[in-house]
């Protein structure tokens, strides 16, 4: 009896959850469907079944070779994230385990650096990039995106590290563990989920950054944000083509997100789980 009710309730909740999920996902789904339509289908009213043509993809590819911006996006997103972690892990570690009375203020200050509107500093940065030869290089973008996301990375890691109970540390020290042993054997395993989800979140943020990546590149380092800027204004009938280009720009990160969803969620606590 109780079981029957619970199955019924479960079905009820399932239906509700699926409706909500599909509504939220719908814009993406419809874009994917439209990308397989012909241009005429794309504008002739609501239609969920395309004719599965690949014409739009071919057209987009012939206009802009997808491979190069794709590789640039990968290199820039991963590179800036790894660099940010290299800098941020020690900093967050120190802040979490040897806090001073200024730690909180420093963290807030770090976050506040993100509030500067990027466009206001474009000309200075552009000039610096020209002088140092960083213009249109992946290294240049890696550096900028690393700095842009560093505050979030430090903060996220800090909140995560802080949840690692200090007693374990104490216990290890009592057992005569050296600092190195402490880090390798005790803390690292506990910190990995937090680092993993910080990494994933940062890759997403870097992948989706679309101001600096357009303004500081021409051809060599231009990532997918520049790719999409080549298709963003209508040219007669362009709905299917725009959909195809959009799908090409978001598919890699979307698929990565789907596969790593569990890891992403596990560490995405910002110290909010108590």
């Amino acid at each position: 009896m109780a079981r029957a009710v619970s199955t019924q309730t479960k079905i009820g909740w399932t239906i509700a959850a699926w409706i909500v999920a599909l509504l939220i996902f719908f814009p993406i789904l419809y874009t994917v469907i439209t990308s397989f339509k012909t241009e005429n289908e794309a504008i002739s009213g609501f239609n969920m079944i395309p004719s599965f043509t690949l014409d739009s993809y071919r057209e987009v590819q012939s206009q802009y070779n997808y491979f190069r911006p794709f590789m640039n996006s990968v290199v820039i997103a991963v590179g800036s994230t790894v660099l940010a972690l290299l800098v941020a892990v020690p900093a967050a570690w120190a802040m979490a385990f040897s806090p001073t009375k200024h730690t909180k203020d420093i963290l807030m200050w770090m976050l506040s650096t993100k509030m500067m509107p990027a466009v206001a500093v474009l000309v200075p940065i552009y000039l610096i990039f020209l002088r140092t030869g960083l213009m249109d290089t992946r290294i240049g973008l890696v550096i900028v995106l690393m700095l842009m996301n560093l505050p979030i990375v430090v903060w996220m890691l800090y909140t995560y590290f802080r949840e690692i109970p200090g007693e374990i540390l104490e216990a290890a020290r009592m057992d005569g563990a050296t600092l190195q042993q402490e880090i390798v054997h005790v803390l690292t395993p506990m910190a990995v989920p937090g680092i993993a989800s910080t990494l994933l979140l940062n890759v997403i943020l870097a992948w989706n950054e679309s101001f600096w990546t357009i303004q500081l590149t021409t051809t060599n380092a231009a990532p997918l944000s520049a790719f999409i800027a080549s298709f963003s204004s209508p040219q007669g009938l362009f709905w299917a083509k725009l959909s195809a280009a959009s799908v090409m720009a978001i598919a890699p990160i979307l698929i990565m997100g789907w596969f790593s969803q569990k890891q992403l969620v596990r560490g995405l606590t910002f110290g909010a789980v108590k």
Binding site: I43, S62, Q63, Y64, R68, L122, V123, Y126, L127, L130, R131, T132, G133, L134, M135, D136, T137, R138, I139, G140, I214, Q215, T218, T219, N220, A221, A222, A226, A229, S230, F231, S232, S233, P234, Q235, G236, L237, F238
Partner: protein, 438 residues
């Protein structure tokens, strides 16, 4: 140091490109419109003839491209070797000495074949600073079948009253046919290009001889009132977000009776592959108000220029000469038919019998371009040049801000009078900041 970082970063890219030794790379910045995309696909003859020149393309949406290119040229960045810019930028940038003069074009380029109005618009003190890729004026495009069914005729040189009558009769909102489609999307190159030309044809002007804005004049009021009246009664829904491209789509799908816009659209609306009304389109001159001898004076040419900072000047000049040559036109004609030839740049194209028969709009386009006077676009005295724009550096900002006010009026968020008043005070403010009168 600077170079080593760059070399290091670029190493992968260089390997991937496997460039032949000594090759020069041209970085070409273009707008992502149809003709430019076609050019990118048709460069084989050029690269075959110049195996030591490599072409790299940067294609961006118009506004982003303008931002990128302007930042680069103003900071002497030298990121680009060939720029796609319009008749608005060429004289302004040439005066800043940002562009390389194109005075030594090869003899077979036949520089005298360029249509004089276009050539003048790209020259400063008789020196050419950019070569036209395609050029346009504005004209009326309308549906023969709808006009016939509605029992109206649009004369070759219509007045705004003619247009209004025709738009009214052609409108059938239940059938999703709107009598008239005009630009409403805010932007100095979008709704303000059209509205400036329309205002010209009403006898209005942007500034008087003391650079005082004239939105409080009776002429502007008449022009804007009629525009709003036309669009609210006979225009499509959502007109305040329609620009050139949106209207093109609407017209191609048979949703517009009349469309007044750039002449370059003619080849798209008569293209049977993309247009459902290809064989039903007729053309007329840009309208004027009764008693005002002015047909808008719209003139625009997407042109190729070589920035002074380019480190491959000779190769770049070779390229721009090729891309705007007669030979290129012939190639396009051979590949995609004469109707697709880049219009508006060369007199010889309009004397070509094949083109004339393939392009029913040829004569009207040429008339429109030839009659555009960009030196004096208003019937009143004006201190500025330019046709559907005012050729001062501040115009991009001012034009777009004013365009926003007029778009708000079109969207019904404020009255036409309020929009004009806001435009007036806004422009006064900007002009004072820029230090006018100079």
């Amino acid at each position: 140091m600077a170079h080593s970082i760059r070399a290091l970063a670029g190493a992968c890219a260089v390997v991937a490109l496997a460039a032949p030794a000594m090759a020069e790379t041209l970085t070409i910045a273009t707008v992502n419109n149809g003709d430019m995309i076609r050019m990118q696909k048709m460069t084989k003859p050029f690269t075959d003839a110049n195996p030591d020149i490599q072409l790299e393309w940067v294609q961006l949406e118009e506004n982003i491209l303008r931002e990128r290119v302007t930042t680069d040229i103003a900071t002497n960045g030298g990121q680009y070797d060939v720029l796609t810019i319009g008749t608005y930028e060429v004289p302004l940038w040439a005066k800043q000495e940002w562009l390389t003069p194109l005075s030594d074009l090869p003899a077979d380029y036949e520089v005298d074949d360029l249509i004089p109005a276009v050539r003048d618009a790209l020259s400063v003190d008789g020196t050419l600073y950019a070569v036209p890729f395609y050029a346009e004026s504005a004209m009326v495009m309308y549906r023969k079948d709808l006009a016939e069914a509605a029992g109206v005729t649009i004369p070759e040189s219509p007045t705004w009253a003619d247009i209004k009558t025709a738009a009214e009769k052609m409108t059938n909102k239940d059938g999703e046919v709107y009598g008239i489609c005009l630009r409403g999307k805010p932007g100095w190159g979008e709704n303000m290009a059209f509205l400036t030309a329309m205002a010209n044809s009403y006898g209005a002007r942007w500034f008087d001889m003391e650079w005082k804005p004239q939105f409080d004049s009776a002429e502007w009021k008449a022009a804007l009132t009629d525009y709003l009246d036309l669009m609210t009664n006979y225009g499509p829904p959502g007109a305040s977000s329609n620009g050139f491209n949106e209207n093109l789509s609407l017209f191609q799908q048979g949703k517009c009776g009349i469309w007044i816009d750039a002449t370059v659209a003619a080849s798209f609306v008569t293209d049977p592959d993309n247009s459902t009304v290809a064989d039903q389109v007729a053309f007329a001159q840009f309208p004027n108000k009764e008693g005002v001898d002015n047909h808008g004076n719209w003139l625009w040419a997407w042109s190729l220029a070589v920035p002074a900072t380019s480190d491959a000047q000779d190769a770049a000049k070779k390229f721009v000469a090729w891309a705007t040559s007669k030979a290129y036109t012939d190639e396009v004609a051979a590949a995609d038919g004469w109707r697709a030839a880049p219009p508006g740049t060369r007199t010889s194209l309009y004397e070509n019998a094949e083109y004339q028969s393939a392009a029913p709009f040829a004569a009207m386009t040429l008339t429109a371009i030839n009659s555009a006077n960009t030196q004096k676009s208003s019937v009143q005295d004006i201190p500025y040049t330019g046709g559907q724009f005012v050729a001062i550096p501040e115009f991009q900002g001012i034009g777009t801000a004013v365009g926003q006010q007029f778009a708000a009026a079109l969207a019904g968020q404020m009255s036409g009078d309020d929009a004009l008043a806001a435009a007036q005070s806004n422009t006064e403010r900007e002009m004072a900041r820029a230090g006018y009168p100079k």
